[in-house]
Symmetry: none
Subunit: 519 residues, 2 copies
């Protein structure tokens, strides 16, 4: 199995270079004094210094080979390549080479360059993207920008990264408006402009926002991987088959000092692709930020370079683009590029539609555009969760306390926490219904009891039939039909039937929840 090779560029006296290389190899793998490293650990775990070479600028290139078995996924890879090294002065991660066995553990971008071109049906020229901003504008203004851009033949319209919503409801309304405006425009043009929604929200809401956008037909998202967590993006892309546009917010500290951090191409090219980024936005040189042409070129090159079976991504220079720079920019980056034109396009006299036509016209003069039919199915390359599409509206109740369309089930698996004579009916939430909760009916026979347990999730209980006893946190409550009870987080509780009749109750729980634990 090939090694994971990291090349660090370090500023140090020549006499210290080999020692520094060994110190990094130790720091990144075992982090102990040399005296605690035995021969086997040195052989199997500690990184190997493969080369120490002087660089023209007086620094040294320290080539270290790591055992690929030290890595399962992205967090371990980031930790190995740059975790503690990040705290060393004047050491930069300049190159990262991954053997096929490690690359095979990553899925990479769901679409990549070719997938996006097929989705759009646009070949031969750079793609044109614009941005919905400024935050604070009315939703109708965003809708109008999206619509005019799509009607004029624009390729991708994305939310600004500052475009964050107060609530899921406002997110959903805005995304629905913009996506539907683009979809209607696409019907007129026969093209397939894509709208990408910003989902920089707290993790506990992320799933809901992504699912909400996908349900509306949105195919992709804008997300800042460094700010949200690189593996959060990887996990989202893997599970939902999303088209991911990566935003560079929070990346600047990695590049700012050219003798420290991570080479832009490694982070925003190679590592972003491992995280599933299809389009990597980076700040263009000559704009509001101080990136050099060489750094921008290195990102573009790494986004498109061979990387095992992992699809190439589209580099997307942004920030300070203008009509005047279009020729230079496109000559520099080539056809497989997304040009992100935000302020310059929104601010152009004549309106968004005219500006879009002007930019596209110029691109067509510079590159031989080839249009084919967009891939309409555009399916987020994965199936919908099972059960969707067969949703049942009505579960009629039967006099024996069962429901048509739902069979009773066991209470817990054998070997879990102890209980006696409990039957569970899953009513709603587990068969494709789109709820944040599950509704169940439980029945405890005379003399039976549920497990005594606790968990972070809570219970809402509606008593239905017979009498029962609920103990919560040592307190006892007698329940009769239509009594409501609530069990707060991490409080020990149990339900018992000490009467002669069956005790039945509905119990509602969060659909995403932790596993019950013993008291």
């Amino acid at each position: 199995m090939g090694a994971i090779t990291a090349v660090y560029h370090a500023l140090c006296p020549a006499a210290d270079a080999a020692g520094l290389a060994r110190a990094i190899a130790v720091e990144q793998t075992v982090e102990v004094p040399e005296s605690l490293i035995d021969a086997r650990i040195d052989m199997e775990i500690v990184g190997k210094v493969a080369a120490v070479d002087p660089l023209p600028d007086g620094r040294f290139a320290l080539r270290i080979e790591y055992n690929p078995q030290l890595v399962n996924g992205l967090p371990e890879l980031l930790n190995l390549a740059y975790g503690n090294v990040s705290m060393m002065e004047k050491v930069r991660l300049a190159e990262l080479e991954l053997p096929p066995e490690v690359l095979a553990r990553f899925r990479g971008p769901n679409y990549g360059v070719e997938g996006i071109r097929e989705l759009l049906g646009v070949h031969g020229r750079p793609l044109l993207a614009t941005v919905l901003k400024p935050r604070g504008s009315a939703d109708d203004r965003f809708r109008a920008i999206a619509e005019e851009f799509a009607l004029a033949g624009g390729d991708i319209v994305k939310d600004d990264n500052n475009l964050i919503d107060e609530s899921f409801a406002t997110f959903q309304r805005r995304v629905a408006l913009c996506h539907e405006a683009v979809a209607r425009a696409n019907e007129q043009t026969g093209r397939q402009c894509l709208y990408l929604a910003n989902i920089s929200v707290p993790l506990d809401r992320l799933e809901r926002y992504v699912e909400g956008a996908l349900r509306l037909g949105v195919k992709g998202v804008l997300i800042p991987p460094l700010l949200m967590g690189l593996d959060v993006v990887r996990d989202l892309a893997d599970r939902h088959g999303l088209l991911v546009m990566g935003h560079p917010a929070f990346t600047g500290t990695f590049f700012h000092d050219r003798r420290h951090g991570i080479e832009p191409g490694v982070l925003m090219g190679t590592i972003y692709r491992l995280a599933g980024v299809d389009i990597s936005i980076f700040v263009n040189h000559g704009g509001r930020f101080d990136y050099s042409p060489a750094e921008c070129a290195s990102i573009a090159a790494a986004a498109r370079a061979p990387l095992g079976r992992i699809r190439p991504a589209l580099p997307a220079p942004a920030g300070g683009m203008s009509f005047e720079r279009l020729e230079d920019m496109t000559r520099e980056y080539g056809a497989d590029t997304v040009l992100v034109v935000g302020g310059a396009l929104l601010g152009r006299t004549g309106g968004v539609g005219k500006a879009t036509e002007a930019y596209l016209g110029r691109l067509r003069e510079l590159f031989p555009e080839r249009l084919v039919a967009p891939r309409r199915d555009g399916a987020p390359s994965r199936p919908l969760p099972p059960g969707v599409g067969e949703v049942v509206h009505h579960l009629p109740f039967r006099a024996d306390f069962t429901w048509e369309g739902r069979a009773p089930a066991g209470y817990k698996k054998p070997g879990e926490l102890p209980y006696r004579d409990v039957v569970r009916h899953e009513l709603l939430g587990e068969a494709g219904e789109e709820t944040a909760f599950s509704l169940r009916y439980f029945e405890i026979a005379a003399g039976g009891f549920s497990s005594e347990e606790k968990h972070v999730h809570t219970h809402a209980i509606i008593a239905v039939r017979g009498r029962g006893i609920l103990t919560v946190d040592g307190k006892r409550f007698d329940l009769k039909p239509n009594d409501i009870a609530y069990v707060p987080p991490l409080t020990v509780h149990q339900l018992r039937n000490e009467g002669g009749e069956p005790f039945g109750f509905y119990c509602i729980v969060d659909r995403e929840r932790d596993r019950p634990r013993a008291p």
Copy 2:
């Protein structure tokens, strides 16, 4: 509502300072040219430049006030305070002040300084922690280190951040071995040494690893927030009530250049606490990394400084600790500190137990140790969200279809969609209960009807009393008591009572939901 105040230290010509401040205020909020900012957006959305002051070192302090309503959670806060600014040269986030309304959205550390001291029963002196390493050692070696350390009276033993397992099975075996060894030692000593497991694993496995550790009785984890995602840590801590020890891997780029990045105290003190970090490890000055005493002191101060209702955290200097430096270190950091002694303790002649005793002995000479009984229940002492504490466990049902403790309310506000004779009772979800859903009871009088409407959120309905008619998407369902019904997203629906008795039903909805719309 008070502003979110960020102070940036910037190196620029004096004539440019005010302009740079405005440029940052615009960049972080609306990111458009000035010509696209109208008066309302400037007032409501764009950051306000509150002060531009010269600093003694020639830089300028740019104080910018942001509207706190631009932020829901941690990703938005990070984006607002430092997202795009990270890509500006020579601008550092030096201070971050959060108003009580923003702080109230964060739970912070589950234990904090006092919670950890109660758990351990150790007061008055710094806590001693050690590290299980090097990776590659046999599990039995780790078990032995943990056991000897605990038997000698050590406080906290944690996995090394490089200690990553091939699989869940190997993780579980190692964690069980080490945790149980510590638990057995605790039975002998009467103390409560804590073992913290490293969970730097890919996100799709994270839940399983954390639950696996919790099931074994482990109370806390080691996790690198910058590498895993700050909001990943926040979400984990919130949901599981974990004790979180934050590791500094991947943080170095924020501090390396003192004219860029984020002030260490802001990132590893304030922001880590928002992410739920109870113990913040940072690299000590004078060790293998180049941090200054002032930077270390600023982390320690920010970890313990007042921050609304958010608990203080324990600063944990690590890296290059030695017996000889103990007195200086503890004098510098004070009693409320965790001293992380890894290699120096493992490598000391005489073994781990003797070394632990030596370190603890010295600490007791320097500080007046006070031991009390450890808090054995060890329940995560979570800061209670508002409203909790008055949580009602039981809402007894009255024969007239009302509930003790809950008054009925109107159905909709006047002027909303049309309806007739409907009463709503909010039962659970709106009074501080921690649920992802709300449970309501509705009653429609004879001849009444609910609004005909649609929305993205769904309804789960349980009929309770009388007879009713549900129409969904043009289909009609007759409901009798205990019938269950489901209304999918964006389908037009209405409930009607055409009988002579009141028609009552429970209706469960997602707590975060969109507003109903006309058909």
